[in-house]
């Protein structure tokens, strides 16, 4: 303990010349809030927390870390669900919280230049007077930062039609681990050179620190409608999703909740959900009124054919927002009915929705833990929430094992272990299932191309080959089951 204290003080000294005293946190009670992120099951006390306010300070901080081989974990709002911002015990947390300014709204080019610590929703609020908005809308949008969104390539309920973070940013300024500041991308629709903008997006703080972002803004749609459809079988609802897309309609949002999650959400925010339904589907259509009407006709026909008995159309803006409020509050709502929960994030081809839900149900029974399902159905992005009680010995481990099995199921059906929350530390073992050792080696080499000393967020996102050997997982070739002849669960 004393050793740690000395190490902490010595490290703090390194930054005294470049940062004011209130930008260096080193007391136990100051460090406490930074011990974990939204994953919460794991805590580590960082050596220090640094809160620079200027790009030049960030650059100098990184240079010092580089020269002294100190690990650096960048941090936005700490809402990440995969443990990406969990500290390194011998490293510093580089908080971007003070970079919270919207620098420019350019209403002619439809862009905004923002600092990384700006909250996602604040961008849309600032763009609103210009008739514009920022499309990617993670459910955590009131709290999460745009820097964190870029680092995770965050999605949201409107990504089906408008794309993920990577499709909605134009330019980034990054600071490299040795303190160099560079721009990637541009305000034009293409720029010379490799697409480093794309590579940085979703890189989980492993390749560089994002310090300035130009995002694309979209015109607010003239009209919006939301249909709420209850189903008495979750499989039928799953199939309806695939049918809507197949009919040639790309809704602005297409979300599904199963009975446990819709009941929890209803109790929490009184969204008006029918609590006797096995599942509900929320379908948002946007654009010109006439276009919406044409699409609505197609969607309603598909829903009825799929077996829907009732289709409710939000009658007012308030009702529409209420429908969405339930969906957006689904995670905290589950938090009210279970002492703890783990949130999974697999993505699968839409056509396997019903089957994967069945498999998940079987796994849930096998492990004796409840699983509630909330998901971006149109994208095939599932969020099974595993309910457990951390104070019961062994239950966290059991929940994590169940979570791992669910993700492996996603890979077996041709999907992926993470659609938008990132790998962090949470899914690091399942990376061994999804990728071959050659592929993992490529990832390590790309990391080294940016960070040759391995100081940026070490130990996250990509497992060592050694770890995979210990985990003993079999790499599952995309979409091919190891033993297709065996009946599954």
């Amino acid at each position: 303990m004393n050793l740690k204290l000395t190490q902490r003080q010595k490290t703090a000294e390194l930054f005294r010349d470049i940062l004011p005293a209130d930008s260096i946190l080193s007391l136990d009670e100051e460090l406490k809030p930074y011990e974990c992120d939204g994953m919460m099951a794991h805590n580590i006390v960082p050596l220090l927390v640094l809160l620079p306010e200027e790009i030049d300070q960030v650059s100098k901080v990184l240079r010092i870390c580089y020269d002294n081989e100190i690990p650096v974990v960048a941090r936005g709002a700490g809402t990440g669900l995969s443990g990406g911002a969990i500290p390194h015990e011998d490293g510093v947390i580089l908080s971007l919280a003070r970079f919270n300014k919207i620098l420019e709204i350019d209403s002619e080019n439809c862009t905004a230049r923002v600092q990384p610590g700006v909250r996602n929703l604040a961008i849309t609020e600032a763009a609103k007077p210009h008739g514009l908005y920022y499309a990617p809308d993670p459910s955590s949008q009131i709290a999460c930062t745009i820097g964190g969104n870029v680092a995770e390539n965050a999605g949201g309920v409107h990504c089906l039609k408008y794309g993920l973070t990577v499709n909605n940013i134009l330019e980034l300024t990054i600071v490299t681990i040795d303190g160099e500041t560079v721009k990637v991308g541009s305000g034009a629709l293409d720029s010379p050179g490799l697409d480093l903008l794309a590579l940085m997006t979703g890189s989980e703080g492993m390749l560089g620190v994002i310090i300035d972002i130009v995002v694309k803004l979209l015109p607010q749609p003239t009209d919006i409608i939301v249909l709420l459809t209850p189903f008495d079988s979750i499989e039928v609802a799953g199939n309806a999703v695939a049918d809507i897309i197949a009919a040639g309609v790309i809704p602005a949002g297409l979300e599904m909740m199963d009975n446990p999650s819709l009941v929890a959400a209803e109790d929490f925010v009184h969204a008006g959900y029918p609590t006797d339904a096995e599942a509900i589907l929320l379908c948002e259509l946007d654009g010109e009124a006439e276009d919406i009407a044409a699409d609505q006709e197609v969607v309603e026909a598909v829903l009825r054919k799929a077996g829907a008995k009732e289709i409710r159309v939000a009658e007012s803006v308030e009702e529409r927002l209420k429908f969405w409020a339930g969906r957006k509050a689904a995670f905290p709502a589950i938090g009210r009915i279970s002492p703890d929960y783990l949130c999974m994030d697999g993505t699968i081809p839409r056509k396997h929705l019903a089957q994967v839900l069945k498999d998940t149900h079987a796994l849930s029974e096998h492990y004796g833990l409840r699983v509630a399902n909330v998901f971006h159905a149109g994208d095939g992005n599932l969020h099974p929430l595993i309910l457990y009680n951390a104070s019961e010995p062994g239950e966290l481990e059991k929940a994590e094992e169940l979570g791992g099995k669910i993700l492996e199921t996603c890979v077996q059906y041709g999907g992926t272990i993470t659609g938008e929350h990132g790998v962090g530390i949470e899914k690091i073992n399942q990376m061994c299932v999804q990728f071959t050792s050659d592929e993992l080696e490529v990832f390590h080499a790309v990391k080294a191309a940016f960070d040759n000393k391995g100081l940026l967020n070490p130990g996250k996102a990509v497992p060592t080959l050694h770890r995979c050997a210990e985990f003993g997982a079999m790499h599952v070739h995309h979409g091919q089951l190891p033993h297709p002849e065996l009946e599954r669960f």
Partner: protein, 351 residues
């Protein structure tokens, strides 16, 4: 259909062992336009690695071998009323799907429907170490590992052979029509600027010789008529002009021998002074200019004043010309990962 993955693997392993570079070639439509050193090395004909591997219309995804002609893919998608969102140029009709991805090529719908980077979901890559590796996949959202898939878009074959690509598709619009209206350059730019921040069903907008063409795509006729009432102009009998524009078969794209064709890519509202021979596409973000003599300096100046970049068509510079040393070093480092000893397209590389 033909699969020459094993043969390609053998070629790459031998090239690496003997340090003999390879020139990756799709249909070769670019041959005369890349710097000649790009073609140095033994030619690898990738059109022989060809065929659609899987296509499920209901999943809105297609997976094809790199050498599959775009024309073949488009024909198949047409049957199901679907399309590649980035609608890449086919030029003489021979371009391959990996060639379009490797060049990052997108058609007139680019500002609204995106580029290859926006639609690509996954790749199978043969890299310079002779590794056959897969990144991304066939699902819409995937953030496991670094985004190697999108890194390949526009990399001009400097990071390995694209054996297969998986691409997200979109349904074709139920109604699509072209509106033409007489309008000067400045007025057209203003109109395009104002429409950018409004919800209108636009998927194409180009100006040429005092005429503005707008492509409108929607689910119903009513939405289109509303826009016509506002903008004026007449409906064209068909939408052929967009294909001509995309494939550079439009009358504008015929520079005389003493002239050269340039492309300037800028933020969409950026001011670029009107030139004598000028076509403005992408709703204001892509300027095509036919220039007399050596216009490199003046066009570069115009581009940088508009916060964009100028590029002589018919001769693509090296992959990077950002001029920034840090970026250059990062690119060299990445080449080192995927293309050690620069066995692929050495003339296009930084290192």
């Amino acid at each position: 259909m033909s699969d020459i993955q094993q043969e390609l693997l053998g070629q790459v392993v031998a090239a690496q062992k003997n340090n003999e570079p390879l020139a990756l070639l799709g249909s070769g439509s670019k041959r005369f336009l890349l710097p000649s050193e790009c073609d140095s090395g033994q030619t690898v004909d990738l059109t022989r690695h060809h065929g659609v591997v899987s296509y499920e219309p209901t999943e809105l995804v297609i997976t094809a071998r790199g050498g599959t002609p775009l024309a073949e893919i488009n024909e198949l998608l047409n049957e199901h009323n679907q399309m590649l969102p980035f609608d890449p140029p086919m030029f003489d009709g021979k371009g391959t799907v990996a060639g379009a991805v490797a060049m990052g090529l997108a058609g007139p719908g680019r500002p609204w429907r995106g580029a290859p980077r926006d639609a690509i979901l996954g790749i199978k890559l043969l890299d310079g170490e002779g590794r056959i590796v897969e990144f991304g996949g066939q699902v819409m959202k995937n953030v496991a590992g670094y985004d190697i898939t999108r890194l390949m878009c526009g990399a001009m074959g400097t990071l390995g052979v694209l054996l297969e690509v998986s691409i997200r598709l979109i349904p074709k619009a139920r109604v699509e029509r072209t509106l033409r209206t007489g309008m000067g350059y400045d007025e057209s730019r203003q109109l395009m600027n104002s429409m950018r921040s409004q919800s209108v069903p636009l998927t194409g907008a180009f100006w040429y010789k005092d005429q503005l063409h707008l492509r409108l795509s929607a689910a119903s006729e009513t939405a289109l008529n509303k826009l016509q009432q506002r903008v004026g102009g007449e409906w064209l009998a068909d939408n052929r002009v967009w294909q001509q524009l995309r494939d550079q078969q439009h009358e504008f794209f015929t520079p005389a021998d003493s002239q050269s064709l340039w492309r300037i890519s800028t933020p969409p509202a950026a001011e670029v002074p009107q030139q004598e021979q000028h076509l403005l596409d992408w709703g204001g973000a892509q300027h095509w200019i036919i220039a007399q003599g050596d216009w490199r300096e003046p066009l570069n100046a115009i581009a940088s004043a508009a916060r964009g970049h100028a590029q002589p068509w018919f001769s693509t510079p090296k992959i990077a010309s950002t001029g920034n040393e840090v970026i250059k070093q990062l690119q060299v480092n990445l080449e080192e990962v995927f293309n050690r000893n620069r066995i692929f397209n050495p003339g296009c590389c930084n290192g």
